[in-house]
Amino acid sequence: MTRRIDWPAHIILSLGVALFVLPIWLVLSGSTLTAAEISRGELSLIPRLSGLGVYASVLRDGSPGAGPVWRMLLVSGAMALTIAVGKIVISILSAYAITFFRFPFRMAAFWTIFITLMLPVEVRIIPTYSVMSDLGLINTFPGMTIPLIASATATLLFRQTFLVVPDELVEAARMDGAGPWRFLKDILIPVSSSNLAALFVILFVYGWNQYLWPLLVATTPELDTIVIGIVKMIGTETATEWNRVMATAVLALLPPVAVVVSMQRWFVRGLTDGEK
């Protein structure tokens, strides 16, 4: 390997980074301007430090048409966490069952889970709504999260991870006297921890970005997620305060980014590491 800088590669990469960062930067600096300036089209690339107060303001008060941003962040965070954790718990257990245990209709169970992959939320949204309505879960937090927890994708991914766990490891644990729950807790989950972290990141972002289902099932402002909040802020009867919308958008970005960055090392290893 030579130590010389590979200029063409750097230029292309820099262009690529700029392409992704520019819109975000535009939103960031736009959020510090006044609403009037933005509607006049005087968008500047240099943030105005004196305008940073808008962040405190949206967090505390929100905007006309939507509640305070802190509450929406909280709702989104709780929803994303519940969905991610719930999906992981459910899919670890189901993958554990179909990988390590022999029971009647094991393959039928596997294929049933597999088939649900073809039925994403959008397809089954009306029957799901009807079920939630019958259960009296409309406008509740469980109603927002439970239908999104059932997950075939994560089950399949865990199954793949579990399949490569060597049989001898399972047998060694049996000889050591570990029962099924102990094996799951002490051996299987630690051994699959990098996959678990990767899945958590993916599922957290998935949960955070949910729009259609929360929009449909939760109509009280108290259950507005940040994504819905942003939409509500745009195009109300009063003129849209674009600087506040942009500030909210920046705030909405931060939690998923924080999750991805903090778990990046695990995330990459979990996606690329096939060997156990």
């Binding site: 001898e168 006297g177 102990r182």
Partner: protein, 357 residues
């Protein structure tokens, strides 16, 4: 210290029968080696004893208690696996302590046992490491340590040395033997390597296609192989097996290569002309000026000795091991000493002992 009894153990996977009735009794403190080619059912037998598989029929008794239907964890046995099967996320200490923690031993007792095993296996300085940071030999020792700390009634070894390089294998082999003797734990050891089998076992069980063919001490198996399979399997280089016919009223054999040899140990029962297989170990063949001519096909110098493979005109290969290393001729003059013959029935392959005929 415990005894192990296998009573007519049979095992089939679906319609494929893997073990056709194995009877076995291990004395307390004994090391029994199950040896056979791959696919002979030896690992299956070990897994049945471990409780990882269930026998199709038969009983397994440890210390006269029937454990056939017991879970592996309730049989009080420990197993060393071929690929070590260490828990990758646990330190060496935790790997060894895991089984004890499950059995709810006190922390002090766990520490005492692990430290003792670590001392025995020279692992003391490695207790904080993860398996990935260990060499193959060290991992093997941790796997042994995990078995030792359990202080089980029975040790099971499933080809534990086959993943090590040749030098390490020799060292570890001696170490396992020393350890087993010292601890006096009844052990079952599975291997396909005949050198391991010969050096480790108090007794050997030779398994061939799911049938036990011989159960005896290593020396007995070597000197009096029960059939042609054992004869060819134990000993390196492998025993020469020559076709012949019973002659002179059972007192001699007429070999197909032209020689007729009178049995040194007495006549065999049977009619003249009965087909025999005659075994002679390569190291027992002698060079003699009055012997028959053996054209040299291949010379393999091993340093202290030389293995010569000769090809007779009939196409029969004959291996001969010589104590010296200067084979320069294109042929050797070879004599078959009658006192070292192994006589087998060519039809059944069974050993024929001298007897009134």
């Amino acid at each position: 210290m415990a005894t192990l009894i296998l009573d007519d153990i049979r095992k089939s996977f679906g319609k494929t029968a893997v073990l056709h009735g194995v009877d076995l009794a291990l004395h307390s403190g004994e090391m029994l080696v199950i040896v056979g080619a791959s696919g002979c059912g030896k690992s299956t037998l070990l897994r049945l004893v471990a409780g990882l598989e269930e026998p199709t029929s038969g009983r397994i008794l440890i210390d006269d208690t029937d454990v056939t239907n017991r879970d592996p964890s309730q049989r009080d046995i420990a197993m060393v696996f071929q690929n070590y099967a260490l828990y990758p996320h646990m330190s060496v200490f935790d790997n060894m302590a895991y089984g004890l923690r499950i059995r709810k031993l006190s922390d002090a007792e766990i520490k005492r046992r692990v430290d003792e095993a670590a001392g025995l296996l020279e692992l003391g300085h490695l207790l904080d490491r993860k398996p990935a940071q260990l060499s193959g030999g060290q991992r093997q020792r941790v796997a042994m340590g995990r078995a030792i700390v359990r202080e089980p009634k029975l040790f099971l070894f499933d080809e534990p040395l086959s993943n090590l390089d040749a030098t390490l294998r020799v060292t570890m082999r001696a170490e396992i033997r020393r350890l087993q003797r010292r601890m006096g734990v009844t052990s079952l050891y599975v291997t396909h390597d005949q050198v391991e089998a010969m050096t480790l076992g108090d007794r050997l069980l030779v398994l061939h296609k799911g049938v036990p063919v011989q159960l005896a001490t290593p020396m007995e198996v070597f000197h009096r192989p029960a059939n042609t399979y054992v004869a060819g399997f134990i000993g390196a280089p492998a025993m020469n097996l020559l076709a012949g016919k019973l002659a002179q009223g059972g007192r001699a054999v007429a070999l197909e290569i032209g020689e007729t040899i009178v049995f040194a140990d007495g006549p065999r029962a049977g009619a003249d002309g009965m087909a025999l297989t005659i075994g002679i170990r390569p190291e027992h063949l002698r060079l003699a000026d009055d012997g028959f001519t053996l054209p040299v096909d291949l010379v393999e110098p091993l340093g202290s000795e030389t293995v010569v493979i000769g090809k007779l005109e009939s196409g029969t290969l004959l291996t001969i091991k010589l104590a010296h290393s200067h084979v320069t001729d294109s042929f050797l003059r070879v004599r078959i000493p009658p006192e070292h013959l192994h006589v087998f029935d060519a039809g059944s392959g069974l050993r024929l002992e001298p007897g009134a005929g």
